[in-house]
Structure formats: structure tokens, C-alpha cells
Amino acid sequence: MTSSSASTHHHGPAVGLSRWLYTTNHKDIGTLYLWFSFAMFLTGGCMALLIRAELFQPGLQLIQPDFFNQMTTMHGLIMVFGAVMPAFVGLANWMIPMMVGAPDMALPRMNNWSFWILPFAFSMMLSTLFMEGGAPNFGWTFYAPLSTTYAPPSVTFFIFAVHMMGISSIMGAINIIATILNLRAPGMSMMKLPLFVWTWLITAFLLIAVMPVLAGVVTMMLMDIHFGTSFFNAAGGGDPVLFQHVFWFFGHPEVYIMILPAFGIVSEIIPTFARKRLFGYPSMVYATASIALLSFIVWAHHMFTVGLPLVAEVFFMFATMLIAVPTGVKVFNWVATMFRGSMTFETPMLFALAFVVLFTIGGFSGLMLAIAPADFQYHDTYFVVAHFHYVLVPGAVFAIMAGAYYWLPKWCGNYYNETMGKVHFWCSFVGVNITFFPMHFIGLAGMPRRIPDYALQFADFNAVATVGAFMFGFSQLIFLYNVIHCIRKGRQASSEVWEGSHGLEWTLPSPAPYHSFSEAPKVK
């Protein structure tokens, strides 16, 4: 894929399959992560389409309730742990060494391992679909005791798979931190780091802080299921609510793990296509850090209805609302960057602009959800489904797409087809809104989430959402085709690639040589 001809004086990649199995090269590993994540995106997407197809009309048509629950569970787990997170790690692998002026990642062998654990973890997770009793069917949040005492036997495999993903993420995070802190080129001070690097640095610390908590909670489940403990079993003196506290102590920072790198990508792209420096760089860094810190004290806003004491409700409501402040700062900064710029609208910019608008809409619904008394009405309805899909699909996923289009010419040395990119964008943009906007309405009207069948008054919007989902889903094939086309026979790209590009990665030739900076570049 990455041609090595530009760097004949270095040793190039090995040939054949062993190149990919044994590689310690950050670009190869980045590529593996990205293809893996795309495969998972399509897998989880097929599950989403099955869910939407079942929900097209009231009544049970295609799948039975238990399988429906397996689909919602697997869809969530695969998209979170298999699609979004590995995609960001893939982008980090590719870009961070190039952005900080390093030859490779700091810990290349561990890098290989952290990727190659993933296919095993996900094969194990997907294999549960064929086991007796079926795959996990308790939602991606796997609340006990539904996921312990009442779980299908395959839950043990699920626990093991989660452990493997956790190990992979932690290793990836350690590697990223080590690279950023140790391998920066001379003159690349912290406050000169590109924002993508900054956001990833903070994300990596979040990962190290919370993945062990996830490992802890699944281990407690394992103990309850197989070794007679009663952490979450009320009959044995345990506490089902404890599960939720521990899970969301992981889960809330996890949602920022999935969005902070997206902020970073968008903060790279907007200045390029506005041909203007990012507005408020230091405040962007501080805002990212404060969002990360706040993310540790808001977890119980997922639990407003479990019967928390009044003071806890008030505290978590205030803390959650507070997150709107640094998030607002980011959005304002992006808009101020565009203001009085000189904008063009190539595909990465289109995705980035859609990100700003649609992520902000997701932020608005998040703010509404933070109002604890109102959350009593919104909680566990499609309003929540609309909210987190707005921040994750036109949020995280659009940012990943934007990043892919933005850096693709650097990766493979060729431009993608701009027209096809725009078609992909518009289909995705329209599809995503048709899918998820009506979910706000059905949620407010009272439709609970995670149900395979629904009352008649929800029928119309559900039908609309399903149409949108198929549109969005199938338009991703345009992306796939475009990427393959670009790798095979795209137009040759210059080293700057974009007129307004800025940063070290654009000083390397396109395609970037197999080893990035063997000699440290000078940073002005």
C-alpha cells in the first residue's frame, strides 16, 4: 500500500502476509487499525440495519425479541470498541509520529501486539452469536443482574473479549503517551503540538485511567457468575446499583475518549481549508483538558433514575452542565477560525463543517439531558438514542471520515476522487439526519429504547428513520470504493496536498516514506 520507493536508502517493508503480521512500522499498523475498524464499522452497520429493518413497522417481522437484543448489544459494542476507538488509534499511529517529527512510535513491538489482539477479541465476541443461548443480549451497558445471573452462557466469552480489548487500548495509550512525550523533534514544545496530538495525549491518559475500571467491573461479573461472589446480587447482599456506578465511572470518560480525538481532527482541518490559523489554540488545549477532568465527576448523570439522594442528583446535574462551557469554547473557536477566512469546501472540510453543526446539536440535547428533572422524562428513550448517535455518528464518525479524506493523499500519494467524495458526503449527511433527527421526536413522544416493537403512534417516524439508515449505510460503500480507487489509481498528490496545509506531516513527500523522520526536522 504505502510505496517504499521514495526511501530506497531505508529498508522497506517485507513482502506478503508477514509484512502485516510482524510489522512494527507505525504506518503499517495504522493501516491495519483503519481497515480493521472499517470492517467492524460495516459489521456493526449491518446489525444496525437489521435493527432498523425490524423497526420499520410495528409488529415483529424479521427477527425475534431475543435476537433483537443480541443485535442492539453487539451493534453497540462493535461500534464503540471495534469501529470508533480503533479508527482513532489508527489515525494516531499514522499521524502522531509524522506530526511531532518522530521516526516511528516509541514502542513499536508493543504497537504490533496492541493491534493484533483486536482481531482475536472480536472473533471471540462475534463467535458468541453462534453459541447456545445466543450472544450477549443485555445491552452494551450490560447492567447486572441481567448480565450476570440472567445472562446467556456466552457472557463469559464476552468478558474475556472485553479484557482483551482493554489490554489493547491500554497498550495503545501507553505508546501514544511515550511517543508524544519523548519523541518530539527539537523545538516542538508542548504548546506547539498540533491539536490532534494534544487531544490524543489527553485521551490516552483517560484510557489509562478508565480501562482498568472496565476490566474491574467485568471481573466482578465473572466472579459473580462463576465463583459465587455477590458483588451485584442483592440476594447475596450485593448491590446492582454498584455495577452502574463502576460501569459509568468508566463509561463517561469513554464517551470523551471517542470524541476528543475528533475535536483534534476537526481542529486540524478547519484552519487548512479556511486558510487561517486556528483561533484560540491555548484555550482549545485548556478546554480539552477541562473536559477530560470534568468527565470523571459526571458519571451518575446516566443514573438519575436509580434513586440517588437529592444532593447527588444536584451535584451531578451541575457538574454535567459545566461541561457545556469548555465544549462551547471549542465550537466558538472553530466558528471564529472560519470567520473572515478564505474558505474552500473539499470533502474533508464538508465533513468537518457537518461535524461542527451536528455535534453541536448533539451537545444541545446533551445539555437538555443534564437537567435532572427533565431527564426523568428523557432517560432510556429514543431521545437519548438520538443524542448519542448525533455525537457519535456525525460526531466521531464524520470526524474520522474527514480525517481519512484529509490525510489519504499523504498516506498513499494520490488524491481521492473529489466528486465521489462530495457525493459520499451529501448522502451521508442527508442519511444521518433522516435517521437520527426523528428519533428526538419519538423519544419525546415516549418511545423507550431497546424495544423490538412499539405502539402505533411511533410508526411514522420509525419508518422515516429506517429509510434514512439504509441511505446512510449504503453510502458508505461509496467511501470504500473511493478509497480503493484512490490507492490504485488516484491523481498524484504534492507534498503539501492542500493549499492551506500546515504542520510537519506536510513537509514529507506524498506518499510519506516508510520511515517518517529519520533525522529530526527543524521546528520553527
Binding site: E132, Y150, T305, M321, T337, S342, A374, L444
Partner: protein, 369 residues
């Protein structure tokens, strides 16, 4: 473009009340609290709309006027302490403005003063149990929509999936407190018109209360994923005048007494089988399936099962007392003696389980004592 879509969305939301089938907004509900919540919801919504219009407005302006194809030249500014401080402080103040009324409403919701009526609500996989603590009234409430409608072989009726056999009945204008708990997994009891959504958690008792000011029928659903039939455990609350409520209570008590007498009557196999099939379809089919074939790995088959073909007392024990720590509940309290006798007899004689055994209601009534 984006702004147009957003504007359209706003328009749609505000135009909503005129369209019954395309309901788009939260209900105002029928309690003081629910109306307060509705108001909070609308205020925060409009705040978001205003901020959205401003932010997206500036963005759209830039997209239209500051584009290279129009010859726009990029300016050089990239920071401004004043502006940055302003857009940190102003949102902060708006948030405080929002947090104050929200907290006030929360404090009201957490008012734990004595109630006129206490009802214990227990979530079961997949039905609700209502126990009126001061009255000797205790019943289960489960979905009454016929399977044929769900499987699309019959026309769906208006209250599809939102109808139950025994609705909860409460009087208008009285403070009714719900004590929520669960028997197996976590459920969540939600009636949008009351703005009550509280998790029902095994081993814990949560509280919620309502004072409803309009008689009527209010419908809700379980809101926490609780397994296979999570989508099929609705809640129906009938709010009646105090007099109607009293007479309803009397009726329920009478019906209970009648049922106990029925146990004393003698039953033959055919009658028990007919009734048993009915009970089975209502209470057991969700797990053990229509032909008693179960779901491998989750729910055991009853057809040819050693329990259904073996010792009667073992079979009775499983059904009456359940299997703790599994999805098999204790049906002792849930079903009447007649229903229990019928369903056990049915399981021992249906789907080719030809034991010929009859379990009599009298036998069960004795065990239930």
C-alpha cells in the same frame, strides 16, 4: 443548508400539537411536577435554539461570504482574550439560570411527606405486580395485546402494546406513593403523563409519588432493558374519582373471594386442560415457547422434560417456588390455585406429555396455605 434543516426542525417541533400521529414533543402531563418539567424542557430547548441560531448563523455567514471563490482573503487574527473570556462567562451564567429552577423542581420531587395511599410496585420478567399496602389487594398486570397482533396475523388495535389485563387504579387528587422494587432484574416504571420514571431494582426500594388532577387512562412502559420481553411489559393506570376508586376496591376484594371458592369445586381433566392452556400462553409461553420446546441455552423445554414427566410433587414445587437465581419465578403468589393446578396439569398432558395426571386446585390450595 444546515441552517435551513435546523430551522425546519424547529418549525416542526413548534408546529407539533396539531398532529396526533406525528407526536413530536414531550407531554405536559397531568401532575404539577410533570408540567414543571415540561416548562423546564421548553425553556432549555429555546435556549439551545437561540444559541444554535447565533452560532450557526455566524458560521453560515462565513461559509457564504468568506469563501475563497468570492475572493475572500483570510485575515490574520487568531486570539482575543476579551472575546474568549466573554464566551466562557456568558454560557456559565446562562447555565446557572437554568440550574436554579431545575433544582427547585428536583427538591419538590424529593418531597417525602406522608402519602394517602401506598402501593408497592414490583417488576417481574415481564409484568408488574401492584400491592396496595393498606388494603388487602395484590395483583399482577401484564400485556393483554394478543400474540396474533404482534405477529401480524391480526389487525392491530389502537392501544397495541399499551394495554394490560389488570390496570393499576388510583384515585384522583390524592397523594399516591409508589414503592418500587423488582423480583429479578432491573426494570423501570415509567408513565410519561406523571413524569414518573423510577428504576425498580431487586433488593432495593425506590420511592416516587403522584397527585393526579385529571381522571383518565394513562399508559407507559418499562424503560430499562430487562430481557427478552422488555418491549412487552406496559403500564396502564386508571385514575378514577374517589367514589369510583372505593367501589373498584370492593369489587376486587369480592372477586378474590370468589376465586378462592372456585378451588373447592371439583375439576375434570378437560376443563383443567382448557384453562391450563390459557394460563400457559399468558404466563409461561414467553420463555418455554408455544410447543413447550423452550430455547436451548436459555429456557428448558417442558416437552419430554424429566420434570414434567416425573414426580408430580417436584413439578409442583418448581412452579410454585421457582428456581432462585434463575429466570424461573415463583408462581405461588402470581397465580390462583385453580390456575396453578390447571397449568401444571396442562404441562403434564400437552405436546405429547401423556402422563394422564391431574393436579387438583384443592391440592394446590392446601400447599398455598
Amino acid at each position: 443548508m444546515k441552517r435551513v434543516i435546523f430551522g425546519l426542525a424547529v418549525l416542526l417541533v413548534t408546529a407539533s400539537p396539531s398532529h396526533a400521529d406525528w407526536t413530536m414533543n414531550l407531554t405536559r402531563g397531568v401532575t404539577d411536577i410533570s408540567r414543571e418539567i415540561y416548562d423546564l424542557h421548553m425553556v432549555i430547548f429555546w435556549i439551545c435554539v437561540v444559541i444554535g441560531v447565533l452560532v450557526f448563523g455566524v458560521m453560515l455567514w462565513s461559509v457564504v461570504y468568506h469563501r475563497k471563490s468570492r475572493g475572500a482573503k483570510a485575515k490574520n487574527f487568531h486570539e482575543s482574550l476579551l472575546v474568549e473570556i466573554t464566551w466562557t462567562i456568558v454560557p456559565f451564567i446562562i447555565l446557572i439560570g437554568m440550574a436554579v429552577p431545575a433544582t427547585a423542581t428536583l427538591i419538590k420531587m424529593y418531597d417525602n411527606t406522608e402519602a394517602d395511599i401506598d402501593i408497592q410496585v414490583t417488576g417481574y420478567q415481564w409484568k408488574w405486580r401492584y400491592q396496595y399496602l393498606a388494603e388487602n389487594v395484590d395483583f399482577f398486570s401484564s400485556l393483554s395485546t394478543p400474540r396474533e397482533q404482534i405477529n401480524n396475523t391480526q389487525e392491530k388495535t389502537t392501544d397495541y402494546l399499551l394495554e394490560v389485563d389488570n390496570p393499576l387504579v388510583i384515585p384522583v387528587g390524592k397523594k399516591v406513593r409508589f414503592l418500587l422494587t423488582a423480583n429479578d432484574v432491573i426494570h423501570s416504571w415509567w408513565v410519561p403523563e406523571f413524569a414518573v420514571k423510577k428504576d425498580a431494582i431487586p433488593g432495593f426500594i425506590n420511592e416516587a409519588w403522584v397527585i393526579v388532577d385529571k381522571p383518565g387512562v394513562y399508559r407507559g412502559q418499562c424503560a430499562e432493558l430487562c430481557g427478552k420481553e422488555h418491549g412487552f411489559m406496559p403500564i396502564v393506570v386508571e385514575v378514577k374519582t374517589v367514589a369510583e376508586y372505593e367501589s373498584w376496591l370492593a369489587e376486587v376484594k369480592q372477586a378474590d373471594a370468589k376465586q378462592q371458592q372456585a378451588a373447592m369445586k371439583s375439576w375434570n381433566l378437560a376443563d383443567l386442560m382448557a384453562m391450563g392452556e390459557e394460563v400457559y400462553n399468558k404466563a409461561c409461553l414467553a420463555c418455554h415457547q408455544a410447543e413447550g420446546e423452550g430455547i436451548p441455552g436459555a429456557f428448558p423445554a417442558l416437552k419430554n422434560s424429566p420434570v414434567a414427566l416425573g414426580e408430580v410433587s417436584v413439578h409442583i414445587d418448581v412452579v410454585l417456588n421457582g428456581k432462585p437465581g434463575t429466570a424461573m419465578q415463583a408462581y405461588k403468589e402470581q397465580l390462583s390455585a385453580v390456575e396453578l393446578a390447571a397449568v401444571i396439569t396442562y404441562e403434564r398432558n400437552a405436546w405429547g406429555n401423556k402422563t394422564g395426571d391431574i393436579v387438583t386446585p384443592a391440592q394446590i390450595a392446601e400447599l398455598k396455605e
